[in-house]
Subunit: 262 residues, 2 copies
């Protein structure tokens, strides 16, 4: 074999080895993600009531995965803040996500009442001229004053969401004297108008928190945020509450049921 | 005045100045976020059909904000990848989010049919023993083989989501010969079983993309991902499709309508 051929052959083998190594790494990463998804579901669903995950070898057997894959999956969940490694104890559940219903229109305290107490820090509250798109959606003339409220909402003291709220002033004025620290706006709207709420158009997105929102929510900069935009109407159809809500992604899941036919 | 008092006084003034400066900065950041939320809604709703945002001074007037606030709001939207500054042109819309319905159970191609063509790159497909929680939810004995599919889904060539799918093998086997590259699994499930889908339990979360998912989705590491977990049942109630879907947060919004009373 001439030397050039030998070199080519050698290079070819090298490439194969690199490719094979990459393929193995990709496969393990795929499997780790797959396993992390299953474990996340178990953790969030209360599948480990002791608060401690089974030993890596037990997980490997239960989930038909290699020890390396189990370790990589646990790394992913650790990066999400769901679990922690405690020396002498093992892997413990530290994160907790709270379920927000997607099936019925509910305020935060209402939807989380089983999980603890919601308190609201009112950061800003007062009349402000409605920018054009707010005015349009609340069906008031552009530039009319609306009530603007900014609240940091906590569950059992932990920051959950940052809510920006716009309410037409005829209804909003009555809210100024209410106990916004301890009461959902939904509840107050129904009390103040004496009418039930009807429906809301919602939009959900995942965004990275900007520096300022992250600071207010006490989350790392760039943390994933579940952003909910919601325009709520009274039962008679009048739009009365436009909200932009940033939920900490690591503390909230939204659950619901979808049907194939309407 | 003794020197210590003078020092104390000076320190006090310094503190006030710093506090005032911080308060002003916080207020501007709050206003910028508020404006960014309104502009984001306009952008995503097609409120700037020319693709170019009005001049900063026009935005300042329309939204009753200062030029500084407008600039900061545009910075936030730029960081999200929604707009870009083009010299001589102004601020142009570059990001586009596609609306995924939250009101009815639909496949991706089905829900996005107005927006273009969905294609699926099948990264993995084949029978694999069901891990315990998958077996439980699909109601098959633990360790039974199920069909596992991993797909990267694109709209008009742009990566949208990474989907991990588990399907009982009696149905899954029939899917092996189907055109998964161009067809929703939902459509195939109905075609293969000859029965309509019924409902699905869904959970939505915002998470930061792990390194590997980010690479597959061609998104930056840590990018916000809208994670959808969905267990879909046939109309007769049998669970037939467990999916873990990671949507790029910058390309998908989920929209729906919630009612106060059920």
């Amino acid at each position: 074999m001439p030397p050039t051929d030998r070199i080519r052959d050698h290079a070819g083998q090298g490439a194969t080895t690199v490719a094979a190594h990459r393929a193995r790494r990709r496969l393990r990463a795929d499997r780790a993600r797959q396993l992390a998804d299953l474990l996340r579901h178990q953790i969030l669903g209360g599948g480990f009531p002791s608060g401690t995950l089974p030993h890596e070898s037990t997980l490997a057997a239960d989930y038909r995965a290699s020890r390396n894959t189990v370790r990589e999956a646990l790394d992913l969940l650790r990066a999400e803040g769901l679990v922690e490694r405690q020396p002498g104890v093992g892997t413990v559940v530290v994160g907790r996500k709270y379920p927000h219903g997607l099936d019925r229109l509910m305020g935060l305290a209402e939807t989380l009442h089983e999980h603890g107490r919601v308190t609201n820090e009112v950061r800003t509250m007062g009349p402000a001229p409605a920018p054009l798109p707010v005015a349009d959606r609340l069906r008031v003339p552009a530039g009319t004053d609306v009530l603007y409220i900014e609240r940091l909402r906590r569950l059992n003291g932990l920051p959950l969401s940052l809510d920006l709220t716009y309410i037409p002033l005829d209804i909003g004025t009555a809210l100024l004297g209410c106990d916004l620290e301890n009461t959902d706006v939904f509840h107050l709207l129904e009390a103040v108008t004496g009418r039930p709420l009807g429906h809301a158009e919602i939009t959900l997105e995942a965004v990275n928190a900007d520096a300022h929102s992250a600071a207010v929510l006490q989350a790392p900069r760039g943390a994933a945020v579940l952003m909910l935009e919601r325009l709520t109407h009274l039962a008679d159809g009048r739009p009365v509450d436009l909200e932009f809500i940033r939920f900490r992604g690591d503390r909230i899941t939204m659950s619901g049921l979808l049907r194939r036919s309407l």
